[in-house]
């Protein structure tokens, strides 16, 4: 069942614009939202949530129009924005006592459970927590009001590899019941390979692809060959290309693969897809 659907979201700034951003996410899945710095990941998330006013487009959540039913939708969404942490001088207990009042379905038992599980001391001040602990605290808050959708902006940035791995395992556990979905943005492509079911890739404010991870990976191939094999026709098909004295390597859509006999074809990973896309064609 469809949980979230974003359709033709537009937002124009002086030097940047979101262009017809569309994607959707079903219940019980993890979607990775990837793109380089400044590609529009955070702006998309903020615009979806009406923190930034969209110039056009619709967002529906659990079948409701988000923009006209914002407060009800927010009851069911858990939010975390990157490295923004609030009230560094306050104790976790104090902040929780405030936050819980705003949610109809706040569950004290669940909250206590997450505190124990994440090894969080409610008497500690926010400023005394490590980045990983802060992220976990934000998650504990989001999960304790039984959010059906977690929207996490770069939850893994600033975490060491071990904490990151823990976090990704946790994400997978959270969706196991089939009720909760996670939309998280990241620049760390290995995170996506480990735990995302769907990938949405944004570049310069426009969505390049939004699809199942395997389908996404299958739809691109890396081609390698000597310099003289790089014909104009082939060059035109390449999404991105690197050349050196030994030859070239480039990214091509699997559907454009015909006619490239004699070239070395290999599978593409998310990182190389992103890099070739961002580099573009060498002229």
């Amino acid at each position: 069942m469809e949980l979230l659907s974003v359709h033709n979201l537009n937002k124009k700034y002086e030097k940047f614009a979101l262009k017809n951003v569309s994607f959707s996410l079903e219940k019980g899945y993890i979607m990775g939202f990837v793109g380089r710095n400044g590609a529009g990941k955070t702006t998309t998330l903020k615009t979806m949530l009406n923190l930034v006013h969209a110039d056009g487009g619709t967002v529906s959540f659990l079948g409701k129009d988000y923009f006209s039913d914002e407060l009800a939708c927010k009851q069911k969404i858990g939010l975390m924005f990157g490295d923004i942490f609030y009230y560094p001088k306050q104790r976790l207990r104090t902040i929780t006592n405030v936050v819980k009042r705003f949610y109809n379905e706040w569950d004290d038992a669940a909250y206590e459970g997450y505190l124990a599980r994440f090894d969080l001391d409610p008497e500690k001040k926010v400023e005394k927590l490590s980045t990983g602990m802060k992220v976990k605290y934000s998650l504990a808050l989001a999960l304790s009001h039984h959010a059906q959708l977690l929207i996490l902006d770069e939850p893994t940035s600033g975490l060491d590899p071990v904490s990151r791995d823990d976090m990704l395992e946790l994400f997978q556990e959270l969706i196991e019941g089939g009720e909760t979905s996670i939309l998280f943005s990241t620049q760390i492509t290995s995170d996506l390979e480990k735990c995302a079911d769907f990938i949405t890739y944004i570049k310069d404010g426009a969505i390049i692809a939004s699809t199942e991870k395997d389908e996404f990976l299958d739809s691109y191939k890396i081609l390698k060959g000597s310099g003289e094999r790089l014909t104009n026709d082939l060059r035109h098909k390449l999404i991105g290309c690197k050349e050196n004295s030994l030859g070239f390597s480039g990214l091509v859509k699997t559907t454009d693969l015909r006619g490239s006999t004699g070239l070395e074809v290999s599978a593409a990973d998310i990182e190389s897809i992103m890099i070739y896309y961002e580099k573009g064609r060498a002229e």
Binding site: K74, V98, V99, F102
Partner: protein
């Protein structure tokens, strides 16, 4: 709304506030323009809020944006009124101890507190909508609001002390002057309420339109 006010007091009210409220005790010192005491403002509240990312925190909660602004405006008004309440007993003591009254500025009588309320009204009307234009820049709106309040305070203080009619009516101490001074206090209360409400309306409209 009740929950947002709870949030304001639990997360935004900081211990320094008690210190600022105690500036009311300065009314004990004789012979200086008392009205300056009330300049110790709610400014620090907004600087600390900014460091705490308070606006963004509130924006993520399932609440209406205009209620976020209303809760903040209520906290500001409460701090301002508390400052006056704390100052009143010290004004009474001052008047009882220094029988000659204040030689430099206005005496602390009913009219004085009415004029202080009007000063707050001006401050709120300039500062709050100025802040909610960006919900981030605190400095410039504060400077503008303090300048406006300072011009008002200076004008009022000078006028009351130097214009004979005003001096007789508004600077006098004791119950015999009450009839002339109570309307000024009442006008202060009304203006404070109206202009702060107007400040809230403009601020809420601006905050609603803002991209965070």
């Amino acid at each position: 709304m009740k929950d947002l006010l709870y949030k304001e007091f639990r997360l935004c009210w900081h211990p320094n506030m008690f210190l600022f409220l105690l500036f009311g005790t300065f009314l004990l010192f004789p012979g200086w323009p008392f009205i300056i005491t009330f300049f110790i403002p709610v400014n620090s509240l907004f600087f600390v809020d900014r460091a705490n990312r308070d606006v963004f925190f509130a924006a993520l909660l399932p609440v209406r944006k205009k209620d976020v602004v209303l809760a903040k405006v209520c906290l500001v008004a409460i701090i301002e009124l508390l400052q006056i309440i704390v100052a009143v007993p010290f004004a009474i003591i001052n008047n009882a101890v220094y029988l000659k009254g204040n030689m430099v500025g206005m005496n602390t009588n009913f009219a004085f507190f009415g004029l202080v309320l009007m000063m707050y009204a001006i401050f709120n009307l300039i500062f709050l909508p100025g802040f909610y234009k960006t919900a981030y820049k605190v400095g410039m709106p504060i400077i503008l609001a303090i300048c406006a309040a300072a011009v008002y305070v200076t004008a009022v203080d000078v006028a009351v002390v130097s214009v004979p009619v005003l001096r007789v009516k508004l600077d006098g101490l004791g119950a015999s002057h009450m009839a002339g001074q109570l309307p000024v206090l009442l006008a202060g209360v009304v203006l404070f309420a109206l202009l702060t409400l107007l400040a809230y309306r403009i601020s809420a409209r601006r905050f609603e339109r803002l991209d965070l």
